[in-house]
Amino acid sequence: MINKFVENIELALDGVKSNMTCMFGGFGLSGIPENIIKELSNREVDGLTCISNNAGVDEFGLGLLLKRKQIKKMISSYVGENAEFERQMLSGELEVDLIPQGTLAERCRAGGAGIPAFYTPAGYGTEVAKDKEVRIFNGKPHILENSLVADFAFVKAWKGDTAGNLIYKGTARNFNPLMAMAGKITVAEVEELYPAGELDPNHIHTPGIFVQRIMQGENYEKRIEQRTTRKR
């Protein structure tokens, strides 16, 4: 067993520097690495390029890094719900690359899988296709998209073991397994950390080979963006 366990968040984030490219798992606020984001917001790192489906909300998630102007560029598919983000983008302080969600997912997966680029129909005929190679397959136009890798990928899982194996819960899985594959250094924070051997290998979602560091997360807030219920 190769031990990936790190005792604290300082060790988990060792080597994170300004101007790096970092991936953050999560969809909206579901499945985001809360502890890691909070710790980064307390550090003197800036100029970050952040790859994340969304950009958090004003006071939580990646919104914390935006507020301190630690992010130079965002690569995302959907960035509503964040007033400070919109302000920084419209004023030109923040570079933003908006890409289709499925393309974002596949670019991360491909990056981790050693595939440098792929063709997809998504975005053909739109401004997303600008300056991209177009090729017809089966009579249908596709555009060439490059894969993505990151200096650090930060992911959040429900359960993990000291070998770095991860299990996610519900729709908090989303981009986490894909980004875990695409990080040169992937750091996972988990709600429940077990000694290797405790988790059933049949149930693992992310094999530990993709994870370089795993840490016990704490005090999860798990904020809900749109609390919608029905009457009993």
């Binding site: 960035v79 289709p100 969600q101 499925g102 997809t120 996610y168 798990k222 749109q226 219920t229």
Partner: protein, 218 residues
């Protein structure tokens, strides 16, 4: 009388086919799930990673780890499955999802759709919409016929940045059902009590009208 949003959803629900997988967008499309006709089995896919999505949870049973693509808390039904975003879009791009219902700001007579950006005003991003419209076998748009300024959203050519081209098959608005044919919009149904001339007056695009246009049955 023009339809309200629930009635638009109810009309679209009549398009649902038995034993199909369906992706519903944010807004009016979400309401379609409330009106599945009797005897029709549907599984709803949400692109953040769930198939077999159920209704909203009861008060106090919300789970932050279980949301839909609109970030609303949801439940799952028997037979549901959870997966990552790459698998989710494999279902979409690979045409395993049979029907997509989504909202729009503009639709053109060629079936082009614009729904992700208003330059200089609103930039929220396309989310999964571009992947969905590029690959879905059948796309129905649910929207109001005109925007807040009273301008037609049914156009000869879209003016806003495009989400996808030649993809919309049918549009259901508060005034009409429009099919997109090779020759443009065909007016196939009108809202109860709404006349053909009222629809023409509210529409910028040319409409193909053949014979009597029946009223929608809601």
């Amino acid at each position: 009388m023009a339809l309200d949003k629930n009635q638009i959803a109810k009309r679209i629900a009549k398009e649902l086919e038995h034993n199909t997988y369906v992706n519903l967008g944010i807004g009016i499309p979400t309401l379609v799930a409330n009106y599945i006709p009797e005897g029709i089995d549907i599984e709803f896919q949400s692109e953040n990673g769930v198939l077999g999505m159920g209704p909203f949870p009861f008060d106090g049973e919300e789970d932050p780890d279980l949301i839909n693509a609109g970030k609303q808390t949801i439940t799952t039904l028997d037979g549901a499955v959870l997966f990552d975003s790459a698998i989710s879009f494999a279902m979409i791009r690979g045409q395993h999802v049979q029907l997509t219902v989504l909202g729009a700001m503009e639709v053109s007579e060629k079936g082009d759709i614009a729904n992700w950006k208003i330059p200089g005003k609103m930039v929220k991003g396309m989310g999964g919409a571009m992947d969905l419209v590029a690959s879905a076998q059948n796309i129905i748009v649910a929207m109001m016929h005109t925007n807040r300024m009273g301008e037609s959203k049914i156009l000869n050519k879209c003016t806003l940045p495009i989400t996808g081209i030649n993809c919309v098959k049918k549009v259901v608005t508060n005034l009409a059902v429009l099919e997109i044919t090779e020759d443009g919009f065909k007016l196939s149904e009108r809202a109860p009590g709404v006349s053909v001339s009222e629809i023409i007056a509210a529409t910028e695009a040319n409409l193909i009208i053949t014979g009597e246009v029946p009223e929608m049955i809601i």
